[in-house]
């Protein structure tokens, strides 16, 4: 039992720390892509999904984690996953998170269009950067847009991809360290939340996607999340799994 030491764990698992940092930065950038509208969007007075960053990040992150965890279980039946398996696991997690965020945006748009009766439009751009559709005539007076226009939808899907990718990468790295799915997933959620909340302060709660002027603040969030993930990563890789203590 005394042969496990902190320094030993750090020396052995430095590559996992790098993986956790990369994952954390992916999550941080992903948050900037997701059209988060907050409370104004819930009242159809701003573009985006009508809830906060944390709820969206937690939702898509957990869906991605479930997908990644299932893939990990399937692939690890043949032995400890290597790099190619980890790519597959991260891809599965990314697709899981993309499905969740896309379904949220699609159903949200149904509610905005058929329930509230507003056309999806953004007030940040005169023309949709992807379809070229004019936006200004459809923005209701006194609001800053409503619903999810095409550009926000595409941006949100990219955000889900990055978030799911980052979350699954953190999960895989932790599984390498402790080999315990329960501990790894709860730590992955912890790292995920830290890296989702810091960028949400950076965008001050709302953003429309990559066409939003606030998107230019990404480097600040990347720097902050780099430091935060480094700290979390160093601590998380020093926690051995139960098997190291001779537990079940």
């Amino acid at each position: 039992m005394t042969d496990i030491t902190i320094i030993g764990m750090l020396m052995e698992h430095w590559i996992s720390i790098i993986g956790i940092i990369i994952g954390g930065i992916c999550i941080a950038v992903g948050v900037h892509f997701v059209p988060v509208g907050g409370a104004p969007a819930a009242m159809a007075q701003a573009t985006g999904i009508g809830t906060g960053t944390v709820q969206l990040a937690a939702g898509s992150g957990l869906t991605g984690l479930l997908a990644a965890g299932y893939m990990y279980m399937t692939l690890s039946a043949a032995g400890t996953p290597g790099i190619s398996e980890i790519i597959l696991i991260c891809a599965t997690g990314a697709v899981g998170a993309m499905i969740m965020i896309s379904v949220t945006m699609l159903v949200g748009n149904w509610v905005y269009i058929y329930g509230v009766g507003v056309p999806p439009a953004s007030a940040k751009k005169d023309y949709d950067p992807i379809t070229g559709d004019p936006q200004a005539p459809y923005v209701a007076a006194g609001t800053v847009g409503q619903g999810m226009p095409t550009v926000c939808f595409v941006s949100g899907a990219i955000g889900g991809l990055l978030g799911g990718l980052g979350g699954s990468l953190v999960y895989c790295m932790l599984m390498w360290v402790n080999g315990d799915a329960a501990i790894s997933s709860i730590f992955a959620i912890g790292v995920f939340l830290v890296n989702a909340v810091l960028p949400s302060y950076n965008i001050q709660g709302t953003i429309e996607g990559f066409h939003d002027p606030k998107f230019k603040r990404v480097p600040k969030a990347m720097l902050a999340c780099f430091i935060a993930s480094l700290l979390c990563g160093i601590i998380a890789v020093m926690i051995p799994g139960m098997s190291a203590f001779g537990g079940a």
């Binding site: 039992m1 005394t2 496990i4 030491t5 902190i6 907050g38 409370a39 906060g52 960053t53 944390v54 709820q55 937690a58 315990d180 329960a182 501990i183 709860i186 730590f187 959620i189 912890g190 790292v191 995920f192 939340l193 830290v194 989702a196 909340v197 810091l198 949400s200 302060y201 950076n202 001050q204 709660g205 600040k220 969030a221 720097l223 902050a224 430091i227 935060a228 700290l231 979390c232 601590i235 998380a236 020093m238 926690i239 051995p240 799994g241 139960m242 203590f245 001779g246 537990g247 079940a248």
Partner: protein, 264 residues
């Protein structure tokens, strides 16, 4: 935000001291019937977190109050488990909660500085409050985990709390107790005693649910003791909260019962 009856230092001192004492008595004594003390520690730690949330969120952080609670528990879970694991690694189980607490305070301070210096939120109390919230997060998580498992041993906690999945309700209920009171009470007429009584009642709900989890894990009688004490605390604090709501209701209030007669 009105003036505070209890200063930040008083709330923090009570939270940390009661939190740690509760966790230590429950974790070291080895008597499952004393496990509820860790829950009481967690309730005081919840109050400490809620007071810090109240101070930092009155500046308006732009993302909604819940984000800061989830941030706290995200930092808290990693530090709490590291502390417990470190204690196990070096065979000094009793240092676990203190190591976790100190580590969380450090991470909280660093993340608070990142939010202020790099992201430029420019909230003067950000560093101090995030430090306190992270510390409260660790104490709540450790307290509820120790209460459910009846031990401070990392292996026991991983087997009985994490692998069983009870960590999920502990995580969310712990976060709710910290973030919900101010989120529910905020506004120009927010008062500190009302928010903090609300946090105690949220902490008591977490304790009751933790007690339900511990029925299957440690000992049915210990679990029932925890549930009964949690319910008693919840009843006292919740009636206290209702009283303060009536006190603070500026325009008076009219009791309508469960549903007004016309809605039946």
């Amino acid at each position: 935000m009105s003036e505070s009856a209890e200063t930040a230092n008083q709330v923090d001192a009570k939270g940390i001291v009661v939190g740690l004492v509760g966790i230590y008595i429950a974790g070291i004594s080895g008597i499952p019937y004393l496990a509820f003390l860790a829950g009481i520690g967690a309730i005081f730690a919840t109050k400490m977190g809620a007071d810090a949330v109240r101070r930092v969120c009155s500046y308006g952080i732009g993302t909604g109050v819940p984000s800061i609670g989830m941030l706290a528990l995200g930092m808290g879970i990693i530090s709490a488990m590291f502390g417990l694991a470190l204690g196990k690694m070096y065979n000094v189980v009793f240092i676990g909660p203190i190591i976790g607490l100190v580590l969380a305070l450090v991470i909280g301070f660093v993340v608070g500085s990142l939010a202020n210096k790099i992201i430029k939120l420019n909230i003067p109390v950000m560093e101090r409050c995030l430090t306190e919230i992270a510390g409260a997060g660790v104490l709540v998580l450790t307290g509820l985990s120790v209460m459910i498992a009846g031990s401070m041993d990392f292996v026991v906690i991983s087997e009985k709390v994490i692998t069983t999945g009870y960590i999920a309700p502990v995580f969310i209920l712990g976060a709710l107790g910290i973030l919900h009171p101010f989120n529910a009470s905020l506004g120009p007429d927010e008062t500190q005693d009302r928010t903090l009584v609300h946090s105690l009642s949220c902490g008591a709900i977490a304790m009751v649910i933790g007690g339900v989890c511990s029925i299957a894990v440690i000992d049915p009688i210990a679990g029932i003791i925890t549930i009964v004490i949690g319910l008693a605390i919840w009843y006292v604090t919740f009636t206290g909260f209702v009283k303060l709501v009536k006190r603070d209701a500026g325009a008076g209030y009219v009791g309508t019962g469960l549903l007004p007669p016309g809605a039946m």
